[in-house]
Structures are given as C-alpha cells and as structure tokens.
Amino acid sequence: MRDGGVSVGVGAAGHLAVSGATKRFGAALVLDDLSIAVAKGEFVSLLGPSGCGKTTLLRCVAGLLRPDAGRILVGGADITTLPAHRRNVGVVFQNYALFPHLTVAENIGFGLRAQGVAKREAAPRIAEALRLVRMEAHADKAITALSGGQQQRVAVARALVVRPSLLLLDEPFSALDRKLRETMQVELKQLLREVGITAIFVTHDQEEALVVSDRIAVMNAGRIEQLADPAALYGRPSSLYVLDFVGQSTRLSGRVVETASNEIAIDTALGRIWAPGSFLRGSPVIVAVRPEAVTLGSAQDGAANHITARVAEISFLGSRTQLHLDLVEPDRGVVELPRLPDGIAPGASVPLSFRVADAMVFPAP
C-alpha cells in the first residue's frame, strides 16, 4: 500500500548500504539499529531535528567514528573497519573545516598530495575542480579572504577532486543567508548531477530537502522513519512523525465507526470523515489531510468528505492564502487556498471538502 515506506534493501542494489548501525555515547543511544540503502548516482537527503544522529551517521559512514554494531558497505565491499583515509568517502563538513594555513588551490590539492598524485597530473585536476565550482579567479587566495558561499564551493571542490565513491555533505548551507542558500542549492544539485556522484546530504530544513534530493530519509531518534521520494514523503507519510516533520496538515483525532472494503469512516470533532485504510472498528486514530487538498465549498466532484469549520486566523502568503481553523488541541487545521473569496474573515464558518483518497489515517499515539 505505502510504497514510500521504509525501504531497507540492504545488501541488494544499494551503492551504499548501512545495516543495523548502532552507536552509543555513554548512556545515549544515538544510532538505533539504523539501516539505509542508497543507489548509485542517487542524491539522498537525511532530514531530521537537531540531535537525532545525522552527523553521527555521516561520521560512521566516513570512517571517523566506529559504530558499536552494524555493517557499512560501499559498492558491495564491507568497509566497516576500514580507517577513514582508506575509504575514499568524501565529506563536506558543517562549516567546511577548510585548512586555514593553506590557500584555495592548496586546499583543493590537499587530497591529491595526500594520495601521492604527481604534480603534473594534480595541476590540471585542481584547475578543473576550480572551474567546476567557478573559483578560478580565487585560486591563490587565503581561505579567510573568502565569503561563506565561496568557502562552501571550495569545500565541495576539495572533496570532489579526489573522485570519491560517495560524497557526504553535512548541512553545507547552514552558514549561508537565505538568498545565497537557494542559489547554492540549485547549483549544488546541478554540479553533483554533472559529476554523477552518489551523495548524502544532511539538513534539518525540509524545504531544502524537498528542493535538492532524489529521495529523502527522515530521521528520528537514531532511526530512519521513512525513505522516499519527495512527492511520496509528502503525499504518503508513513507515520505521524513524518507527517508533522514534512509540510503542514490538518489533523483530527477520532474513532473508527464504520468499515467498508478498503475504506473506513471516522467520527471527529468536525463530523464524519471517510478515508482509505483498514482499521478495526472502534480504534482510536488520527486522520490528516494536506492543506492544498482541501477546497472551499461543498460542490467538489468526487469530494466525499464535507465538513464545516470556523476560521481562527488568516495568513496571506503571496501566491496563496492559509486559513487556520479554530480547533481544540490536539486537533489542528490548516487549509490553503489559491485566492481568498470575499466575505471570509476570522470567526466565519466555512464549508470545506476533500477527496477520500486525500485523507490519511494513522493509529493514535
């Protein structure tokens, strides 16, 4: 039913396969039997709140940290016990970790020198890397003389020039302002496609994850909650956690009162709602619907769910307008309209409708 669910095709086609990775720091369980598989050439985002273990997972894959249990395979080879300098896994660190005592070109050439690549061969590769990130004009500059965006580019070039089998990026844009961030996101995506490298990209910004990645892995407390492409993750979240972490939604708690083939009816504070799914009659559930799936009025074709709700607040967002519904915690509601019709103000009751297929049901926590 949910093809966007946790996919742990370990040992299968994955270029990178982490299976059962576990890591404790003292009493804290930071990676909890975590598994993930990433296909060759794929660009996967690791999305999760601060402290959920994203950096720890990257450090384990890079060889900077040894997991207490579990295996890590790249291209089918078990690298779990290989030291970092033998793994050929590139890393772009949070805040870049560029070498302050070296110039831009020396930073980029560092890996080639470390691997004993002859100067004759290294020079054109450094030049190529500089061109790739459009930093040719800054080759001999000191790192401290660069802007945040330029440092970020150098960090990417430094990691790519040694042709790693896998590139890990730990919040590469977190130090940049919003505008630059958006430019760099697109730029990085194009660059990585051009190079054709498999990449894992850490972020705690869901919009960033939606923009840049082929697939997104939502992490929660040391585990992967769901690994899916952006549309599936948004449209068919596998858990309440993912539902709340990615995007907004109207959430109503209720109880299953009727069951039909593949459909159930749920009684909520806003009335009866039909949704796809199979739950036992009487189960406490939460039914959710994304803001843009809801339309104003009751006349929508095929929209079998009709409710009436009071508007608590209206937020104008430019290209669209959000209505926040007046509901009692833990219920909450948000509806997004392309345009606000006349006569709707806070306090007004509005008729709303949405399709059965757009309703999502989760067992109540």
Partner: protein, 286 residues
C-alpha cells in the same frame, strides 16, 4: 583603503593605549631604568669609559666556555621540554573530565613547589644511597651505586622538570583551540595519520611551539637557581658568573657586560619568535 585613510580622523590616544599605560609605567621604573643603569655600568671602567668588560667576556676562553655552556643548557633543556611537552600538551587538550584535572595537576603542580624543596627531593632520589640507586641495584640493573647527583644528566633532568610547564602551556592553549575536524577532513581526503600530522596538526600548532620554545629557552639560558643548587661551581652559567662578579668579585663592569650579552641573546630569541609568530599568523595567499 586610501579612501578610509583620507577620511580617518587624526590619531588620538584611544582606550587601548590608556589601558596599557599603567603597565608601561611600571615596567619603565622596575625594568627599563635598571636596564639603562646596567648598560651604563657595562661601559664604565675605573678610569671612565671603557669596553674592557666586553673585551673580557667575549675574549676570555673561560667566559666563552661559560657562554657556550649556558647556550647548551638552554638548548638541551628546551629540546627535552619540547620532546616531553608537545605530546603532553595534546593529551591535556584532548583529555576530558577528571583525566584533564589530573593531567593538569601533574604538569603544573611542580610550578607551585619551591625550587629549594624540589632540589632537596632530587637529592633524596639521586644520592649515592638514594632511592634511584637503591631501586636499580635491587632490580639488578647495576652492581654498585652510580654517581648521579652533581652530574650534567641530573642537571638537565632537573632543568626540564622546572621549565616543562612553560613549554606545555603555550602549546596547550593553541592545541585546545584547534578544530579537531581539520585532521578528520584530511583523513577523508585520503591522508595517512603521518601526513595528517605533518601537514595539518603540526603546522597549526607551530605558533604554540614557537612561543613555548622562546619562553623556555630564554628562561633556561639565564637559569641561576637550578644549576647552582644542582651543580654548584661544577657547571657555571652566565647568570652564575654574573652573580659572582656582582656579589663576590665586586667587578660591576664584568657583571654588567655579561648581563648585557645574556640580554642580547634573550632579545634575539624573543624578537625572532615574535617575527615567526607574525609570519605564522598571516594566512598564506593574498
């Protein structure tokens, strides 16, 4: 650049200048004044101006020998302290919790123990019937007690003990601020541990090393108390000659000339270190 120079207001003493004034005044009275008097003494013979003091210090084989000995003492002490202190500074910087407290105490507690107490302790350890001889004899390492006290080996050990903290502290303060992800980044680029150390860790720790070396060398080359207590007249340093000239021989010109030479050595080291520091602090590239 030139635009700001044009619009910049005329220079006035700012807050920083005022803050440093008391210290400068203090140094002027307790340091600069005696220094000028010293320089003056070094060129004043019984019959007026004379360079006789310098002629004796720089021309006499005995005094040259003393100077060489002092330099040797300074170099060996500094080298030994660097060899022991460099890894210790890293251990200290990377240690956490209790381990750090204990390491700190081990390295810095000796500073708080008076040199007199320390040399008394060394005596107990190094004497012919001391602990070290006793232990080595019982372990069968030696057949009869070895003379250790009043040997150069004991002197160097004592000097390194006394001056080690002055080497560790500056290196520690630099290493503590070092981003540990830099060697990590080097590792992910394929750098072996040795390459990481020589190309990343070592260059970044150099400012601390330069500071530690210059402090330790300046202190060791002018050491007086430790060599006197551990060697007496058997090992004369420049400071000991100075003390003798001033206190026993009442030969002020000789003492002042020796002091000036020692000062020149120290200033060379300090200025050289400052220059190196500045070069190290300036990032490569434009």
């Amino acid at each position: 650049m030139s635009a700001t120079a044009l619009t910049a207001p005329p220079r006035r003493p700012d807050g920083l200048t005022l803050l440093v004034l008391p210290a400068l005044a203090f140094l002027g009275v307790v340091f600069l004044l005696p220094l000028l008097l010293l320089l003056w003494s070094s060129i004043r013979g019984p019959g007026g101006f004379s360079l006789n003091g310098y002629a004796r210090v720089l021309g006499d084989a005995y005094y040259l020998q003393v100077m060489l000995q002092s330099l040797q003492l300074g170099l060996i002490t500094t080298g030994g302290a660097l060899l022991l202190g460099y890894p210790a500074a890293f251990a200290l910087a990377r240690a956490r919790g209790y381990a750090q407290v204990v390491l700190f105490a081990l390295i810095f507690l000796p500073l708080t123990v008076s040199i007199i107490v320390k040399s008394f302790g060394w005596g107990i350890v190094l004497r012919r019937d001391g602990i070290l001889n006793w232990a080595m004899e019982n372990l069968g390492l030696i057949e009869r007690p070895v003379r250790m006290i009043f040997t150069e080996g004991a002197l160097y050990a004592g000097m390194i003990n006394v001056f080690l903290p002055f080497m560790v502290l500056p290196i520690f303060s630099v290493v503590r601020m070092m981003d540990t992800r830099l060697p990590d980044a080097a590792a992910t680029l394929g750098a072996s541990p040795w390459f990481r150390f020589t190309r990343v860790t070592l260059p970044l720790s150099l400012p601390g090393v330069v500071a530690g070396v210059s402090i330790t060398f300046s202190l060791a080359v002018s050491a007086y108390v430790t060599p006197s207590l551990l060697m007496g007249d058997r090992f004369m340093t420049m400071s000991m000659v100075m003390a003798k000239a001033f206190l026993n021989l009442r030969d002020w010109q000789l003492g002042a000339a020796m002091a000036t030479v020692l000062l020149a050595v120290a200033i060379t080291v300090v200025v050289g270190a400052a220059w190196l520091q500045k070069r190290l602090a300036t990032p490569r590239g434009s």
